[in-house]
Structure formats: C-alpha cells, structure tokens
Amino acid sequence: MYRYTDFDRRFVRARAAQYRDQLERHQRGELSDDDFRPLRLQNGWYLQRHAPMLRVAVPYGELSSRQLRALARVAREHDLQDAGTPRERGGYGHFTTRQNLQFNWIPLARSADVMELLAEADLHGIQTSGNCIRNITSDALAGIAPDEVVDPRPYCEILRQWSTLHPEFAFLPRKFKIAVTGAREDRAAIAWHDIGLQLLKNDAGEVGFRVLVGGGMGRTPVIATEVAAFVPWQQILVFIEAIVRVYNRYGRRDNLYKARIKILVKAEGARFVDAVGAEFRAILEHDADGAAHLIPQAELDRVAAHFELPDGVRAEPSRGIAPAGDAPLAYRRWLERNVHAHRVSGHRAVTLSLKRPGQAPGDVTADQMDTAAALAERFSHGELRVTHDQNLLLPWVREADLLALWRAAKDAGFATPNIGLLTDMIACPGGDFCGLANARSIPIAAAITERFQDLDELYDIGDIDLHMSGCMNSCGHHHSGHIGILGVDKDGAEWYQVSLGGADGSTLSGAAVAGKVIGPSFSADEVPDVVEAVIDTYRSRRAANERFIDTVRRVGLEPFKTAANAVRRETAEAA
C-alpha cells in the first residue's frame, strides 16, 4: 500500500497545525461559529446531535494495521463521555459506505490534539466533509480481484494528491465525490458518483478512463452520464480539472438541493459535455504551463511501486479451499460467503463481517479495532481494506491459513457468515447521532437483524442488498438497495419509506438504477414486518435459482406492495 513520503508527512502535520490555529481563534472568540464551520468541516468535524463527529479519511479504503491501532487509540482515549448508556459513552468508530471511519463522541476542545495524533499515523480528515472534492473511493478488491483490468490504486493516489487542498476547488457549489474502479465488475458504484471513473484498455492495449459525470443520490437520484469513452491516463487530471472548473463556474448556488453537479449535467445535457471538452482543450492549448498536470510515466511508476505485492506474497499452487468432510458447517458457510477469489494463486481475500447482533452495521469498538489489526498482521501482511458495504477485508490471506483465520475471526466476533446476505445491510448512523437525520436507522437495523437470525433462512433468501438511510441525504444508499429504507419525518414522528428494485451497478444487481417506492411510509414497528412480507413474497414467487432482485424485476412491484400493505397497523389507521 501507499507509504507516506517526508513531504506527505510534513503536509498532514502542517494541516493539523493550521487547524489548531483555527480552533484556537474560534475558542478565543476571533472566529465566529459561522466562519469556523466551513473550516472544521474540511477537516472532517461536524457538529451533530450530541457531540462533534469526526470523519477520518481512509483513501480508497486502504488501511494499515498500524493506522487501525492509531484509530483504536483515538477511540479509547478521546471518543468518550462520562454519561449515558454504554453506547452513548463512546469508545468506538463507524465505517461508512465511502470507506471512511467516523467517531461520535470526541469533544471539540480535543479536536486539534486528535488531528496531531492522526497525523503521526499518516491519517487526517482533510476534505471528508464540506463543499469540496471528497475522499476518493474505490473497489475494496482493488489490486487483488481476478477480474481486474488495471489496478486503480496508483491512479487513486495520484488523484488524492491532486485534489488535496486544490486552491481553486475548495468551495464548490456542493460536495463532490469521485469513485474509481479498474475491474470488469463495478464494485465501487461509480454511476452513483459526481465523477465515476472506469479504468480500461483500448484496442491498442493502452490504459485510459471511461468518465461518467453527474451521478448522485439525495432528493433527486440520478445515474451518471458518460462524458468520455476513453481519456488516456496521462490526461486524467487535466480532464477532471476541466469538469470541476465547469461545475465551479456554472453549478447552481441558489438552492442547496439543486447544487450538485448532477443537476447541471441534467439541465445542460450535451452542452455540458461540450463545455467540458472545450475547457479541456483550452487548458492544454492555451494556458500557461497547461501541460504541467499531464502525468508522466515516471510519476505513475513511482506511485505504482507502492502497490507491488507485499514482501512474502508469491503465487503458490492452489489446492482449492474445499473443506475437509468433517469441517464444521459454520466454517463451510464462512468459506462460501466471506472468502473471495484472488488474482494471486494460493491466496484469498477475506471479509471480516461488521454485521452482527448487538452492534450497529459498520461499528467497531477500540478493542475490536486492535483485534482486527492483529488479524491483519498475522494473516494479511498488516493490510486491511474498508469495504463500501461497511465491513473490513483482509486482502492477502494464504489459502493454507483460512482455517486458522476463521477460528481467530470467530473468537473475535468477525466471522458472521453473512456477506451479501440480508443481514449484511448498509445503514447510516441515523437519528441516534446525526443532526440531519429525520429518523433512526440503528434500531431498525437491529430489529431486522434480530428477525433474520436463522442462517438457513438467510441462505435460502440468498443474495440481497438492503440499504437504509435516516434521511434524504442518502448516506445509507437506500436508492441503490434491492430493498431501500428511507427515514422520513412527518409531524415530528419517524416514518419509513420502502423502495424496491434499486441497483448499485454490480454484476449481481445489474445496471445502476434507483428503486421505486412501494406506497405510503410505514411506522418503525412495521418495518421488520414489511421486510418479512417482501421476502416471503419473493420466496413464494421466485423461479428456480432466481435471486431477489431478478424476481422483483420479473414480477413487478404489485405483489410486493400488496404484501407490504397487508402488514400495516398504525399506518393503516393514519391513512
């Protein structure tokens, strides 16, 4: 994985010092709340329901065990308060769909100390919030997937550096998210991003990017438009500069809900594509030093050298992973769901499930972080990935170590064999924490998890994406769930809109599309019943070996709607 240079290290320390200066001016009353807000946001500090929230960047999802231990230390020593229920006392983090980690209980007065602590581990919160280019996300299997065409990580790192404190693009109309994939299958949901990049090779074998622009969730879900079928890799920074400049100049700033680039792309259509093309050519043909950001081969090589195989990883003959005849059922299931194919023969990638009863999806305590770090050191050359669906993944596991890893992961509570199944749901922190949320996500997630604890049943239901957001900001990606649940506020009460048939763009889910709402909102108590009714409808209607999403597409929404309406109680009276 990428190793910080001296320059990178000086840079994050300088950022921490700059932030301390801003915080101290704020504490002295020299920087008002309103003026401090955009500054702290661009360092990852939100103020929410109970305390500030810190979002730490995990660039393209790659994390070292040393970094995870540093995050554990932050959780243990700083993410604390002395009152409330155990969950409200802090000491844990939450992995997000954008591969970042959030803390919920760090007092703002300690925020500068925490930034310095993070900087010592080559970590920061730069541009994890605010109306700027956010942390770049990628495929959790980048560099190890058998279906990979081009390893996206060197390009992600080059993009990370280019976008970090870009002086022209720090105050865009709205937040701006970039996702990159280099595989045949899109596991990074690129069509749902402001810019989605797909690395590919042309007929001549040259590497370039297919560039999508204007995807996004929120109030108006939009699938991104292709603005270029092939941009040579050398030109990608210039091409993105052109896109972001057009957006900065012409994106709407009069209405928060119409400020994302998706609205500009939709409104302007072909004119937007033409404007980007004209700006791109103008940079290269007319600007002083316009070619300065073309990426030279030497720079790609320098960065790519960071992503070579870890020392000691070498291809070995695969003996397969079929378990011995007397292997426990739980191990077989884990092999089936949590263990993934690898491009290096004799190796596998293994998901550590963060979806289990008693903890919110994606949550990890300080001790669990340390345990995961130890597993990474013992089994995966000290490297982990944060997945888009809020789990951790060990990328470099030898097949011969799988049984030992399973035992250790099971002892640590990371071995729930549910990856891709109903309980492996995506959920935002929701109204328990977030100041924006209309409704809580965590109790709903917990109720569904409780309801579907029977593994036989879960396996019978099979592959399914359940995504849940506590509000229209869509942090839980409800639009792209096969089942989407959205918290809404009606007269101060929490209600939940249920949608079906959304897709993130993966092979299983099909082309990216937003799900369709199946009628008026449900009460919190009704939601688990609705999910069960929808699942039962699928099980009674499915053809042989047909997955949930395919049944929904084949039979349409009506039977599901009817089943869901049949379990209404409170909402039937309200209607």
Binding site: A14, Q161, L165, E168, R253, A288, P296
Partner: protein
C-alpha cells in the same frame, strides 16, 4: 509560500463596474469590479486598458472568483492587480494567493496578521498553482 498580497483597507470604496467603465469610454489604466458570474473571456479585448480587476465574493464560501482569477492569470495572461473584495476572511488568503490574487480587501474586522500566519503553514502543495505551475511530482523529480 510567500507571495504575500497587498492588504487593502476595508473602507476603501469599491471600483466602478466594468459596464460603468466602458460607458465612460474605457479610459486606459482602468480599475473595475466584476460580478463572479462574468466569463473572464468576455474581458479579453479590455484587458490591455485595465490596470486592476476586483473579483467579488458575495459570501466567502462562494468559490467562483477563484476560477475567474486563475483564468485571468493563466489563460488571459492578465498582469495587473487582481483584488479580492466582498466577504473576504483571513482563512481564504492562501487560496486567493495561489489562484492569482495579489490584493485582498478583508471584510471589516479581519486581522491581516492572521492572514500572514495562515500563509506560513505549508511549505508546498501537491498540485501546481499560479505561482508554481508544476505539481509536486514534477518538482521533486
């Protein structure tokens, strides 16, 4: 990163708009202000007769004028003064300098001393800017 800008007193009056200057016969050495929605390209013919251009920040978080400044410097090769006006705060100054502003009229009550300190935190940046067009990777090599 030095390139310290000139700090202009908050009470100095605003310059005439580009339209007012044109209506007055576009005298040489003009000092004008433009809205942040104006395409700098539309000033191309005027630039030889302009000594200074004021770019406006209606709110300090509205970043359009950064792109205007960058285009004026890098694409249109404007060498006169580019002044930041409006809701300008000290924490913007590093960004202003890097996109080509050389004069800053801070909002009333802001302290130039804080802006000078804000210019001192970083000894370099990853991407090029108006003063150092090369990105870090091209300089380090």
């Amino acid at each position: 990163m030095s390139h310290e800008p000139q700090f202009i007193d908050a009470h100095e009056p605003a310059w005439p708009s580009i339209d007012e200057w044109r209506a007055a016969g576009a005298p040489a050495g003009g000092r004008v202000s433009i809205a942040n929605t104006l395409d700098p390209e539309s000033l191309r013919a005027d630039l030889p007769r302009l000594a200074a251009i004021g770019l406006h920040f209606p709110k300090w978080t509205d970043g359009r004028a950064y792109s205007q400044a960058r285009l004026l410097r890098v694409r249109l090769r404007f060498a006169g003064e580019i002044r930041a006006t409006g809701d300008v705060v000290v924490d913007m100054v590093p960004l202003l300098v890097r996109t080509g502003f050389d004069a800053v009229q801070l909002r009333d009550g802001q302290q130039p001393g804080h802006a000078r300190r804000a210019l001192g935190f970083f000894d370099g940046h990853y991407q090029g800017d108006v003063h150092e067009p090369r990105p870090w990777f091209a300089r380090a090599a």
